[in-house]
């Protein structure tokens, strides 16, 4: 980053701190067991952090692009975003903006680099896989709702639905235990270390073997597997119609 961007980010940071914090949920630290660990393995610790209550919207991302025109559609190099970057935005004058109807829908068609830059500009960062999965385990009622039938049903129904419902305005659904919305049921989300779920089982990725020996009768494994599946299929410049992000700090 150039020097003035640093200054800019600093100004932005102090200016947005309260607003940002207001839109974030405090997540108390703890530990969780990812899908691929057997029942008797130690849990993975997660430190306390904050997470945006909703995914970043088109309107929010548009304000970011206005301040950081290097992230405008057409300006970003192919190494940082594929050609379809922000392809759902429309031309206005000599810039691109989201359609009015999409203002409060989650921004999609953004690369990891763009998502990362956005969060940094807010004085935040992308959540790690562990942080995301830890919060993703929460149901409306408890920190770990993965054993509730309705929790798994909701997620599985979304996967079965296959995105037919399309994108909706963020924050409309029921919040989870932490007050966080839309963790499931609308989009996939970038994580800081998405490409470290390298499933290294010798010559074969275990991912291709389904929820094999690890208590495969538990459907929650399936939903977690699908998230690991999408993450391992991504590269940082990729943009997808159903992939957005939120920030953490």
């Amino acid at each position: 980053m150039k020097l003035h961007s640093y200054l800019f980010a600093a100004v932005l940071f102090s200016g947005c701190l309260n607003v940002g914090a207001a839109g974030m949920a405090k997540i108390e630290g703890g530990s969780y067991r990812p899908l691929y660990l057997k029942k008797d393995t130690p849990l993975i610790p997660v430190k306390s952090f904050q997470l945006d209550k909703t995914p970043i919207t088109n309107a929010e991302f548009s304000r970011f692009v206005q301040k950081h025109p290097q992230w405008q559609r057409g300006k970003v190099g192919v190494r940082h975003a594929e050609a379809q970057y922000l392809s759902h935005w429309v031309k206005q004058g000599n810039a691109y903006v989201p359609k009015a109807a999409d203002a409060n829908k989650p921004v999609v068609n953004v690369s990891w680099f763009a998502a990362h830059a956005y969060c940094v500009a807010q004085g935040k960062r992308l959540p790690t896989i562990d942080e995301w999965e830890y919060v993703g385990q929460a149901s409306a009622l408890q920190k770990n709702g993965t054993n509730e039938a309705s929790y798994n049903r909701t997620i599985l129904d979304w996967y079965a639905d296959g995105g037919r419902s399309g994108l909706r305005d963020v924050g409309k659904g029921k919040a989870n235990f932490y007050g966080v919305h839309d963790m499931h049921g609308m989009i996939w989300e970038w994580t800081e270390d998405f490409n470290s779920s390298l499933l290294n089982g010798g010559s074969n990725s275990d991912l291709y073997c389904g929820g094999g020996s690890n208590n495969a009768t538990d459907p929650s494994n399936y939903v977690a597997f699908m998230r690991f599946g999408i993450r391992t299929s991504l590269k940082a410049p990729f943009v997808l119609k159903n992939l957005g992000f939120r920030c953490a700090k």
């Binding site: 379809q84 599985l156 996967y159 079965a160 296959g162 290294n200 275990d206 389904g210 929820g211 495969a216």
Partner: protein, 496 residues
């Protein structure tokens, strides 16, 4: 960045040691007399110098034409994954995940020694990544990792078709079961170098099991039900992706005298198919799609993730039903296809339809007839003994309506040319024993009733002595017949 190592869940390297060995020549039994005598050129062409051709790919039930080449080639195969809603049964829709927009995916036909260049595209409106595992490939995952593709992206990889056979390809992205359950499978045929013997017709049929929230036939868009899938309790078992896909108007066609070859696959995800064609015997089965040929087979097993090639010569015209002979799947879950064959009758081989009755189509519903306690007691007590001729007639009427009415009619008039009349029947009145014989042992061959010839078949009826006595007494005392009584002991005597 952290590097994670996952605990191995399944060791999935099923790479046989034999895969890298040269294949022994097929045994003589694998070469039929009808096989064209060909000299097979030895292929030493480097892969880079092979001619490049586009694969001819077909949607089920069509099969691609024979390869008809005496040299290896690089065969370009393009597959696009699409997640789309389609009909699974009348009034029922399902969100299928497809190779090429249909279930099964397109059939591919190559030749042993060919290099298959796969271009694997995942549409941008897909929700999840997908990939493909070719059972015809030898190499890690059958191409699963090499083809792993996020939505809106495309991957390329190639494999050499080292061994001939009929092979399933399927999606192998986690959760694998779910991808397969949604319809992601198809067949690739690797012809042996000399090709397959020529036949008149070839068709492409793949069985699959589907798991929906609603019961069989429940209308609307049905979501996938993971729990049923894990319990292996499908609501639908179908050929080519939907109920009726190759039945009725969509039936496969053939003519008498033709040999039909079916490329049969089973995508699963769970069930093993007992593949059978009603009214035909497979002259040849390439067992499990490999080199072993079995002959004169009634039913062949097609494993989940496996295939078989079956061949049959059609001798007489008619409709031949393709079924999974694990038969409730056929009558209650949709596993029914048809071959409709036209041509000249051959009465020596099959006499054709002689009789026709009312057939109550079973439909998909579970049929039970619950009994009350008193009814159960009655069942255990057996048929009540009639005390008088009047009682016998009354009881006989019930038996008649349940067992005889469909053919012989409400008034016992029968159907001219098919079912002899029981009304004012000279045949029956002249000798009651003939009636008893007809009921307990059945009756076939030519008889004359009231001056008219009938040449048909009456099946033996599994009624007890009391019931036979009752129904015959009823017939003798109704329909303008001359009266009389048949007793259970008469029936018992006639059975000897």
């Amino acid at each position: 960045m952290k590097m994670r190592t996952l605990a191995a869940l399944i060791a999935s390297t099923f790479v046989f040691a034999a895969c890298s060995q040269p294949q022994p020549a097929p045994s003589d039994s694998a070469k039929t007399a009808s096989a064209p005598a060909q000299t097979v050129a030895v292929d030493n062409t480097p892969a880079a110098d092979l001619p490049v051709i586009d694969a001819v790919m077909t949607y089920a039930p069509e099969a691609p034409p024979p390869v008809n080449r005496d040299h290896a080639a690089r065969v370009k195969v393009k597959i696009e994954v699409a997640e789309k809603v389609m009909k699974i049964a009348d009034g029922v829709e399902y969100k299928f995940w497809t190779f090429g927009g249909q279930v099964p995916g397109q059939m591919i036909r190559v030749r042993e020694g060919d290099i298959v260049d796969v271009e694997f595209a995942n549409r941008s409106d897909s929700t999840v990544p997908h990939n493909i595992d070719f059972h015809a490939a030898t190499g890690p995952g059958g191409g699963a990792e090499a083809s792993f593709t996020a939505p809106g992206h495309v991957s390329n990889f190639s494999f050499k078709a080292l061994q001939p056979g009929l092979y399933i390809y399927h999606c192998a992205t986690a959760p694998v079961g779910m991808h397969i359950a949604n319809g992601m499978y198809g067949l690739i045929l690797v012809e042996p170098k000399e090709g397959l013997p020529k036949v008149d017709r070839e068709y492409y049929v793949v069985q699959g099991d589907f798991y929906t929230k609603g019961k069989y036939g429940e209308a609307g868009l049905q979501p996938f039900d993971m729990e049923k899938a894990i319990k292996e309790q499908p609501d639908y078992v179908v050929f080519n992706g939907s109920v009726g896909s190759i039945a009725g108007e969509n039936a496969l066609k053939a003519n008498v005298g033709e040999t039909v070859r079916l490329f049969v696959g089973n995508g699963g995800p769970n069930l093993v198919s007992s593949f059978h064609v009603i009214g035909e015997i497979f002259d040849k089965v390439y067992v499990e799609g490999g080199d072993l040929i079995n002959k004169n087979v009634q039913t062949t097993l097609v494993p989940a993730g496996g295939a078989a090639i079956v061949e049959m010569k059609i001798d007489v015209p008619g409709t031949y039903n393709l079924v999974d002979h694990s038969i409730f799947r056929t009558f209650n879950k949709g596993a029914l296809g048809q071959i409709k064959a036209e041509g000249a009758e051959d009465k020596d081989i099959f006499s054709g339809k002689i009789t026709e009755g009312v057939y109550q189509s079973e439909g998909g519903a579970i049929q039970t007839a619950p009994l009350t306690a008193s009814e159960t007691a009655k069942v255990e007590a057996g048929t009540p003994k009639a005390g008088s001729k009047e009682e016998r007639v009354k009881a006989g009427e019930v038996v008649y309506k349940a067992n005889c009415l469909a053919c012989h009619g409400v008034e016992g008039k029968g159907v001219e040319g098919a079912f002899p009349p029981l009304a004012e029947s000279d045949y029956l009145n002249a000798d009651h024993k003939r009636g008893i014989q007809a009921v307990v042992k059945g009756l076939s061959g030519e008889i004359t009733v009231n001056g008219k010839k009938y040449n048909s078949v009456m099946p033996a009826l599994s009624l007890n002595d009391e019931e036979v006595a009752n129904v015959l007494t009823y017939v003798l005392n109704t329909f303008g017949n001359k009266g009389g009584e048949v007793k259970p002991e008469d029936v018992a005597a006639a059975r000897k």
